[in-house]
């Protein structure tokens, strides 16, 4: 057993209260001093642990409720986070009812869904919550029975005294336990003692999902609630000039139509603020259908917006250019940028000399388009503004990050904002940007009624906040023996660079140069499952495949060679990845896919591996091409995300990542002409469908004792290059520009 210490005594954060019907409610807030530590060093490694909280409710009938603090969008934290508590609490998982916690920064300081950090950040704090509660129950039992704690044991929610044969449920002691002081020293189980963690558990919300129960933001309704939509400019780079709502207001069921400004003109844009169009026209009515119809009758005149300057939190202005942009022109601009010197992000050795002395240079340019998130549940928020208070029911990934903007725009103190966290019908980064909540609140305030704001699918697809448009050019220099002597990565995008300068193969090559550039744009972008990595991996892992072929090396062997160098004698001081874990997933995928085995010689297969969000993933994809049709026969995924809390949920995530990656690699793209998106809905935006999904997906986890690292995002980025590399084997043609399928000849 590992002993960890808490420091509750100095800053008390345990809130214990007896429930009216008997039983116990336990909540622990975690701040700087309340973090469980094994050594002082650890404090310096991951200080973010400070921000986790949990609740436990134990009823006198021994039923147990465990609150999951993090917003749920399908990553299954509603199951995995309560599992962490239940393990240390030592209760039967069947006794436990998991419940979504609402936004409550005092009780739950870290309610953050993004960056694949949910389980990672909760790993020790939530287990400590469970262990603390167990210890208090043991103390209460010891007092009730007048027996020493050391003679008592727990199992499945029961306290037992083996010598006397006494055994009672946690529920018996819950009320007494709730009145006890918080234990000072908390002992966590060693990994080898886990009985629940590491066992496959089904999604706790599954029964409600299959019955269509109202779980999602869009499902929320209450008496007197009105429906609202917003009419916005038809193109990026346009703004409202004038409008006439006379005809629209006469439509049935319409309550009011008025313009709203999403952010104040002098708003300082924080990380998750974004605005595609700051002034929009709100249409409010008695049903979705009424509002949809009236919207069409709003006569708005739009004009090209002038260049604007947006102020960031750091008081640095960002230019939003004027003009109606087209993706065709963006691609031409990106090629121009590639010819100019970029901003040097990293330089090792003497790459210029390497290229000057090279006997052979391979240079390839890769691109990937804008992507819409296409969350299946369209953007929405319920808001009810009364006096100086606002109450939300909304799907939102990172509620805490929206509070400062709400305070600024709505002019109310943060204490007056309450948010019920609705289950999200997908997120993928899109729902980190909660401007729609501000919109809903402003509309509710104007009409003095509860309002549900709904984006139509067309609003979501054409309304911005996309995965950026990216380009990366790689150059590799070789000597006369085909030895790799220098490497150059130069990447940029509209309006963000994808480059991760300190990631592999940086650290493995003596002469290395990474440069970046950006093209400003008025098209808004957002985090999209594994931001930047989702393109970096595609480009880099395709390029490594191509140069390994030139060198006459097996693509896995070549990567392992580079990683061995990075492990044993790394170049440079800052390399973001752990070469051993990177090698581990490549070795595992090689073994599990039967890579290089004679029986697989006829397969058209591609390999790829990547590191992001603290985890390592590798894939081998087998596919066939007939005309312009791609059939993916099998995906073999190897994943190192440390200890796997719930293998069933984890596998589902990795399978989904494979399908998501294949779909976007083959079909996904959002293009624009004169500021308007060419795709508006799923009839034109090509999504992967049932008949295009892989026939088989195998997921294998590296078994180790490393504390959990990211899971939702890491298995996604490498898929793109595994597809490209397999397509090369199937067609003899290299694919550099996503999406790939339109380039196949029918």
């Amino acid at each position: 057993m590992k002993k960890t210490e808490t420091q509750y005594s100095r800053r008390s954060f345990l809130k214990v209260s007896s429930l009216s019907g008997g039983g116990m409610m336990l909540g622990i807030s975690w701040f700087a001093s309340a973090k469980p530590v094994e050594s002082l060093d650890e404090l310096n490694i991951e200080p973010v642990w400070q921000e986790v909280t949990s609740f436990i409710k134990i009823a006198s009938d021994n039923s147990i409720k465990i609150f999951s603090p993090n917003p749920e969008f399908g990553q299954n934290v509603m199951t995995s986070l309560p599992m962490l508590i239940a393990e240390e609490l030592d209760v039967d998982w069947k006794q436990v009812e998991a419940e979504q916690g609402n936004f409550n920064p005092k009780a739950f300081p870290r309610q953050f869904t993004g960056g694949s950090q949910g389980v990672r950040m909760a790993w020790k704090p939530l287990r400590t919550v469970g262990a603390a509660a167990r210890q208090m129950i043991l103390t209460a039992a010891s007092q009730a029975w007048n027996l020493p704690v050391s003679e008592l044991t727990t199992f499945n929610g029961m306290v037992t005294h083996a010598f006397s044969g006494k055994s009672e449920s946690y529920g018996t002691f819950a009320e007494a336990a709730s009145k006890l002081p918080v234990p000072k020293d908390i002992v966590l189980k060693g990994n080898q003692s886990f009985r629940l963690l590491g066992t496959p558990q089904k999604n706790v919300v599954g029964p409600k999902i299959v019955q269509g129960k109202p779980l999602f933001g869009l499902d929320y309704r209450e008496a007197g609630m009105l429906y609202a939509m917003t009419e916005r400019p038809p193109a990026f780079g346009m703004q409202l000039k004038s409008f006439d709502t006379t005809a629209a207001k006469k439509m049935p069921g319409i309550v009011d139509i008025f313009p709203i400004k999403v952010y104040n003109d002098d708003h300082k844009f924080a990380g998750f603020d974004t605005r595609s169009f700051n002034e929009v026209i709100a249409v409010v009515g008695k049903s979705t259908w009424d509002v949809m119809n009236a919207r069409k009758k709003v006569k708005a005149v739009w004009e090209v917006a002038p260049e604007k300057s947006e102020m960031g939190q750091n008081n640095q202005a960002r230019i939003v250019p004027s003009g109606l942009e087209s993706t065709k022109k963006h691609y031409a601009q990106m090629l121009e940028m590639d010819k100019k010197p970029g901003k040097i992000e990293r330089k090792d050795g003497d790459p210029e000399k390497g290229f000057a002395e090279a006997k052979h240079i391979i240079e390839r340019t890769y691109t990937a388009p804008f992507l819409a998130h296409n969350i299946m549940e369209p953007t929405n928020a319920f808001a009810h503004f009364v006096g100086d208070k606002v109450r939300f029911v909304a799907p939102i990934q990172i509620p805490e990050m929206m509070i400062p903007s709400m305070v600024a725009r709505l002019g109310i103190p943060k204490e007056n904002i309450s948010i019920e966290l609705a289950r999200m019908g997908g997120g993928f980064g899109r729902r980190a940007y909660g401007h729609y909540m501000i919109e809903a609140a402003l509309i509710s305030k104007q009409v003095s009624a509860p309002v549900k704001l709904i984006y139509m699918r067309e609003d979501d697809v054409s309304g911005g906040n996309y995965r950026p448009l990216y380009q990366l050019t790689y150059r590799a220099a070789f000597d006369e023996n085909k030895k790799l002597i220098a490497f150059h990565a130069k990447g940029g995008g509209v309006p963000e660079s994808p480059l991760h300068a300190n990631r592999f193969p940086a650290g493995a090559i003596d002469n290395y140069l990474a440069e970046s550039w950006v093209i400003p744009s008025n098209i808004t972008i957002a985090a999209f499952r594994a931001p930047r990595s989702n393109f970096n991996a595609a480009a880099e892992q395709s390029f490594l495949d191509e140069i390994s072929e030139y060198m006459g090396k097996d693509p896995i062997d070549f990567r392992l060679e580079l990683l061995k160098r990075a492990k044993e004698n790394p170049v440079g001081k800052t390399n973001d990845y752990d070469a051993s874990r990177y090698m581990g997933v490549l070795e595992l995928v090689r073994e599990k896919s039967g890579w290089g085995k004679p029986e697989n010689a006829g397969k058209k297969r591609g390999v790829s591996a990547y590191f992001c969000h603290n985890s390592y993933a590798a894939q081998v994809i087998d596919l066939q091409v007939k005309g312009d049709q791609v059939t993916v026969d099998q995906v073999t995924t190897a994943l190192d995300c440390g200890v796997v809390v719930n293998p069933e949920g984890a596998k589902n995530m990795a399978e989904g990542a494979a399908i998501d990656g294949i779909g976007n690699a083959l079909f996904g793209q959002l293009t624009l002409t004169d500021g308007k998106t060419d795709q508006k809905n799923f009839d034109t935006y090509r999504m992967i469908r049932h008949n295009e999904a892989p026939k088989k997906i195998d997921v294998h986890f590296v078994k180790n004792e490393i504390d959990p690292t990211g899971l939702g995002e890491p298995p996604f980025p490498p898929v793109f290059a595994a597809v490209a590399n397999a397509l090369y084997k199937a067609t003899g043609k290299r694919f550099y520009h996503q999406p790939f399928q339109p380039q196949l000849k029918g």
Partner: protein, 153 residues
């Protein structure tokens, strides 16, 4: 034009007043308050709003209320009394859902498929289910669940 309609949903007759062009989807959700049938695209391209019309899978966003006289409609809420339809049971057994938003529609499509084709081939499943998008990528689990439901029923 607002008219009175009588619609039979989940074996109950509901009297509703609605615009004649209002799609069944919004009648079910906004007027009758049943939220299991989901809005995904409104153009019949994603399958989130799938219901049964006289036993066949249809997209409720494409059916105006005025076209439903005398029809028998089933929504996810009426598929089984306790969520124990073989397809729902298989869905839980295979642990299909991630976000879960599209799954009502997927389940309604799958149930209709098995009604018309009790022992579907893989290709039957792929073709029939192609109209139902899952953004989370649960397609392989959905296929497995349908095969399992077929084997058990």
């Amino acid at each position: 034009m607002i008219k009175k309609y009588s619609v039979r949903i989940n074996k109950k007759v509901h009297q509703v007043e609605a615009d004649e062009n209002m799609p069944l989807l919004w009648v079910i959700r906004d007027i009758l308050g049943m939220e299991g049938t989901k809005y995904g695209c409104g153009v019949g391209s994603c399958g989130a709003c799938t219901v049964h019309l006289n036993g066949s899978a249809v997209r409720s966003c494409q059916l105006p209320i005025s076209s439903l006289t005398g029809m028998e409609i089933t929504t996810i809420e009426g598929l089984s009394a306790k969520g124990d339809h073989p397809v729902q049971k298989a869905w839980l057994d295979v642990d299909v859902a991630q976000c879960g938003y599209c799954q009502s529609g997927q389940i309604m499509s799958a149930a209709a498929l098995l009604k018309s084709t009790p022992n579907p081939t893989e290709e039957d499943i792929e073709n029939f289910m192609t109209g139902n998008i899952c953004r989370c990528g649960t397609y392989t689990r959905i296929k497995k669940a349908i095969q399992q439901a077929a084997a058990k029923s």
